[in-house]
Symmetry: C2
Subunit: 255 residues, 2 copies
């Protein structure tokens, strides 16, 4: 038989993967207790030591928490790889950082971007404009693609890594994710227009314009978040919003 996989992973890894799949598919939800090790062993047709090894693997990747004498419980998976996981970076801070960093990245990209990359950007813009009213997921994918093309156009993997990290971060924070969702729903079309302006600046190879437009774009996102916040915020939170307005107006003026 040549269909036999020549190298199969270690057993505990296979089991661990299956367990992760079950957890991420919602079979076992957060807080829920997994079946006993003995039962899991029977389910997967493996021995208990193997189950233990798989559980340890999940534990080290903080998928589960094992409580002596009680069981192993699914916990919130903080992906670990996020540097902000323990810092609770809010949507404002995150977007402000993006405004500064991506602004600089756009300026640098303007001096180095290739024709091929410009072409890619144009295509992505069409995706965004065309699939405007389709599902948000597609739009978001195109959005990320646009920003990442620019980041990579800097030819600096440190820069693109940081920008991708900041982008991904918004997914891992529940609050931030909700905020961005609200912003997306409030008005996407102006966003497409803003992206196009950035594209034009890059095409013209104008660093200053690219920086300013990218920064302006993300600053508008902050504004949108502020508005969304105001809508849903209770009266008690309002003075904080005002403080934020003051605070981010400073960012805007330091250029």
């Amino acid at each position: 038989m040549e269909s036999v996989p020549q190298k199969l992973p270690r057993l505990y890894q296979q089991v661990a993967e299956k367990l992760v799949t079950l957890i991420e598919s919602g079979e076992y939800t957060i807080g829920m207790r997994l079946p006993a090790e003995r039962d899991l062993a029977a389910m997967f047709k493996v021995s208990r030591p193997t189950i233990r090894e798989a559980v340890i693997a999940l534990e080290l990747e903080s998928y589960v928490e094992v409580r002596m004498g009680s069981g192993v419980y699914v916990i919130e998976h903080s992906k670990g790889k996020s540097r902000f996981s323990d810092k609770d970076v809010g949507p404002f801070e995150l977007t402000e950082a993006r405004a500064l960093f991506e602004g600089e990245a756009a300026a640098l990209a303007a001096t180095m971007i290739t024709e091929a990359e410009l072409e890619e950007l144009a295509e992505t813009l069409d995706e965004m404009a065309c699939e405007n009213n389709v599902d948000t997921e597609t739009h978001e994918a195109a959005d990320k693609k646009f920003h990442m093309i620019i980041a990579r156009a800097t030819n600096n993997s440190a820069i693109s890594s940081v920008i991708e990290e900041l982008w991904d971060e918004r997914e891992s924070s529940e609050l931030t994710h909700r905020m961005y969702e609200k912003v997306r729903n409030s008005g996407v079309k102006p966003s497409v227009e803003e992206h196009r302006e950035v594209y034009e600046a890059l095409k013209a190879r104008d660093p200053q314009a690219a920086r300013e437009l990218m920064r302006a774009h993300l600053m508008r996102v902050i504004d949108s978040i502020l508005e969304a916040t105001e809508v849903e915020a209770v009266e008690a939170a309002r003075h904080q919003v005002t403080k934020n307005r003051e605070r981010f107006s400073k960012t805007r003026t330091i250029s």
Copy 2:
């Protein structure tokens, strides 16, 4: 006995920690094979399954690699937490990213820095100037402290996290670390002067000046790295250096 620790960690974790200690202490160096699982079990007075669990833990943290039928081998430990670990970010890219991002951070910090933070900066400057000719470790600590005070003065944890990440990254890359070492040895005094200029700009609350001076400081670091590279580079590498010069001259002119 009341000296009994109320909660001792799981056995495999204790074993894993001991193994990590042994590895980091140089008892087992990179490429070396660890004793057989059976021997380790005897050494630590635990059962073999426990050893296996500990080895799996080390494996998941990429301390070791286990080769079926051969043994478990110590590999280079890439701390995993670095987002760049798999991307091989060179010293030039890293420093360019720092120049852009820390420049912006300095500009933002100039608008928000407190008197207390300025005072801290002044103290750190004294440390750097005073312990100039002492061990490099102290100097480097003061250097990082200086940059991180500014990063934190932005009052934006996303920004300070990114900057700290970039700083730490230079430790994890052997090449980058060597480069920075060379730069440190070549001339520290001008570096102190450059830091002082940044400090003055922050004290004057001048965003533009703070950005320019911080950027200039890090650009000079790139120059130093280039020089260090030239000294040790073989002839074949020289054209790459020239390309780098061209490339980073662009960064300098986009402001």
